[in-house]
């Protein structure tokens, strides 16, 4: 009811305070699993192992350059382990009939509680070291905005306790099989209907990325440091590989880029394999409906459950640079899950065909998917508006550069027309791309919107989830006969826009999308 609105109520779903809200409940407080202390201590020791081997076994002379990173690692490790020990001492948690509560702090006591009926996801993560010790980090989400990660984190409890928590908090109808399932993944992903499984060909979609270079930089720095530690001379080795002087600058840079790129791609591939290992998207039955569950990970497993009662639609987004290989990201539009958290992603980056098939299955509209609905091209005026803006922006930027060059000084005069020559074609191309991305339709109980330049995003949103309509028209748009329609909703991004639709049909489309919300405000005809 509106008296206690649900989304406004999110704020009071999570309560921080000095008093437990359920102080009367006679449920014992539980501790985290003590194993987490030594797990982290062992990790700290292991991270110092290469240095120790180098110095003690190989007998490398320690220098300040090699000792410093080791010292930093040692300090970080010790502080981390001490921190973990303190956290174990300080933290208690319990699940009462109404709340999940967590108590931290010795001198200053802090309580955090979440009402159980607000809980929207229970996420169990196991890093490799946790998995070895049969531990899981549990994150309970309550649809909070602006709190990253989750409303309440328990780092870490035993695997059985994590299973039990999830079972208890999400009211799973299936039997708890923790401890009886053998194998790598923690849980019960076998139950339920499998909507998608990892295909190894998806690797190709996850390794072509600018991040390859960042990855390579990290890997190379690590390798360089390790090599120096063992008394090798990697810089000299690279210099001796070829006669760089003779190759010249251009070739040296080209070779460098290719080699670094290959290393980065290999790194990304390894990362993808370890992250998405044994990925499955499963629809599992719960007490009050169904949930979409993803399970994935080799060294570090990750399992996310999304209540389907909160599902309002699906979005498929196609990044511009990889449109030619039909690459797609698939996310669900749900209430309560922040669109910026990875929890809304239900498929690894992969081919568009799979994304569409899975989206149809998730929406239960196989054979008649909203993503297969015909999206007629928008009026050419929309292209004209984009071309006009592209030209104006290019002209404005060029003018600004020219003016700055003249007033500030030592910038070559030719710079401004160079700016124009580069900027104008790029912007005009983007204008065309942006125009071609436009589309909208009403397909059954879904409204479909498509737009976007850097990533063309197609969203199918349930019409019953539309909670408002915004129509927008500038004078220019009015002259061109265009109108921007936006439907607002509580889920996902909160707004899904159809820029520059034909002004005559826009209102009708908006009204259809919003299930007749505009009826009382239509002009009598």
């Amino acid at each position: 009811m509106s008296a206690s609105p649900p989304e406004a109520g999110v704020q009071d779903a999570i309560v921080d305070g000095a008093e437990p809200p359920d102080a009367t409940a006679d449920v014992p407080w539980l501790r985290l699993d003590a194993k987490m202390i030594w797990v982290d201590a062992v990790r700290a020791l292991l991270s110092m192992a290469p240095a120790a081997i180098a110095i003690v076994v190989v007998g490398v002379e320690p220098t300040s350059g090699t000792i410093l990173p080791v010292a930093v690692l040692a300090v970080v490790g010790v502080v981390g382990a001490a921190n973990d020990a303190m956290r174990w001492v300080k933290t208690r948690y319990r699940v009462t009939d109404e709340y999940v509560e967590r108590r931290t702090g010795l001198l200053v006591r802090k309580y955090r509680s979440i009402r159980r009926d607000r809980i929207r996801s229970v996420d169990a993560q196991g890093k490799f070291r946790h998995r070895l010790a049969r531990l899981r980090k549990v994150t309970v989400g309550a649809g909070q905005h602006g709190v990253s990660g989750g409303a309440l984190t328990l780092d870490a409890v035993s695997r059985t306790a994590a299973e039990q928590l999830r079972h208890e908090l999400l009211n799973h109808a299936e039997p708890a099989v923790a401890g009886t399932v053998a194998g790598r993944t923690s849980s019960t992903a076998g139950a339920g209907h499998v909507l998608a499984r990892l295909r190894w060909s998806w690797i190709a979609y996850n390794i072509v990325n600018v991040w390859a270079y960042v990855m390579a930089a990290g890997l190379l720095w690590g390798a360089y440091w390790l090599a120096v530690l063992f008394g090798l001379d990697p810089a000299g080795w690279v210099t001796g590989l070829a006669d760089w002087e003779e190759l010249g600058w251009g070739w040296t840079i080209a070779v460098g880029l290719v080699v670094v790129g290959v290393i980065g791609v290999a790194g990304l591939a390894a990362n993808f394999v370890s992250e998405s290992w044994n990925f499955r998207l499963v629809r599992v039955p719960t007490e009050n409906g169904t949930a979409l569950r993803t399970v994935q990970g080799l060294l570090r497993t990750r399992e996310v459950n999304r209540d389907e009662n909160r599902l309002r639609g699906v979005q498929i987004s196609e990044p511009l640079l990889w449109r030619w290989m039909r690459m797609a990201d698939t996310t669900v539009i749900t209430t309560g899950l922040s669109i910026f958290s990875t929890s809304s992603t239900i498929l690894p980056r992969g081919p568009l065909g799979v994304a569409r098939r899975v989206a149809a299955a998730v929406l239960d509209r196989e054979g008649d998917s909203p993503f297969d609905a015909a999206l007629p091209r928008h009026p050419v005026a929309a292209l004209r508006r984009r071309l006009l803006w592209a030209t104006l922006i290019a002209a404005g930027a060029t003018g600004l550069v020219a003016w700055l060059a003249r007033t500030i000084g030592p910038v070559p005069e030719s710079l401004w027309w160079l700016a124009a020559a580069v900027l104008l074609p790029v912007l005009l191309t983007l204008a065309v791309v942006s125009y071609r991305a436009l589309g909208h339709a009403v397909s059954g109980e879904y409204v479909v919107t498509r737009s976007g330049v850097s990533a063309r995003a197609t969203a199918a949103l349930r019409r019953s989830a539309v909670s408002g309509v915004v129509l927008r028209q500038s004078l220019l748009q009015r002259r061109l006969g265009l109108m921007t329609v936006t439907v607002t909703t509580a889920a996902g991004y909160g707004r899904y826009a159809v820029p520059d639709a034909d002004a005559h049909s826009a209102v009708q489309f908006a009204n259809e999308a919003a299930q007749g919300m505009l009826d009382p405000f239509l002009e009598a005809r």
Partner: protein, 163 residues
């Protein structure tokens, strides 16, 4: 009057709103110009760059204060019915917003300093969507409070489907 099939919302805002928008526009322009004037006055070498910007800010500020408020007055309209809240706002860019009563979560009135001076208030209606809020500025205080109370009442009587 409108070419797109939507009818115009029933009520205009108060005429005093023009004065309010003018004052607000002048205040913004003054603050901006003031911020720019400080480095202009302090550093002689920066004057060739800041000078034109300062002139532009002044010119746009004056134009904005002279034209936009009356323009807004022509565009701004609002209406509340038993089913929905409907408002048209903007000037160069017009915006029509509709939110059904069943989706309304909060109804607020707020009054800025200029609004208090002129006896005006802004009515804000929010829904579960983070971007679905409808703001109706330039209402008489009495009207705004009466509307807010009425909407709250109707909202509580209407069974909402929440999100």
């Amino acid at each position: 009057m409108s070419q797109n099939g939507l009818r115009v919302p029933a009520n205009r805002v108060e005429r005093r709103a023009i004065l309010h928008w003018t004052l607000a526009a002048l205040a913004t322009a003054t603050v901006l110009a003031g911020v720019l004037a400080v480095p202009y006055w302090l550093w002689e070498s920066a004057r060739p760059v800041i000078g034109p910007v300062l002139v532009a800010v002044g010119a746009v500020g004056v134009l904005n204060a002279a034209m936009v408020p009356s323009w807004r007055y022509i565009v701004h309209r609002w209406e509340t019915t038993a089913e929905a809240v409907y408002a048209r706002t903007g000037w160069y860019v017009r915006e029509w917003r509709v939110a059904p009563i069943s989706r309304i979560q909060t109804v607020d009135t707020s009054r800025g300093p200029f609004e208090q001076m002129l006896g005006l208030a802004t009515l804000t209606v929010t829904t579960a969507s983070s971007s679905g809020a409808i703001k109706i500025p330039g209402l008489d205080v009495e009207t705004a409070i009466r509307e807010a109370e009425r909407l709250t009442e109707v909202t509580q009587l209407t069974p909402g489907d929440q999100t």
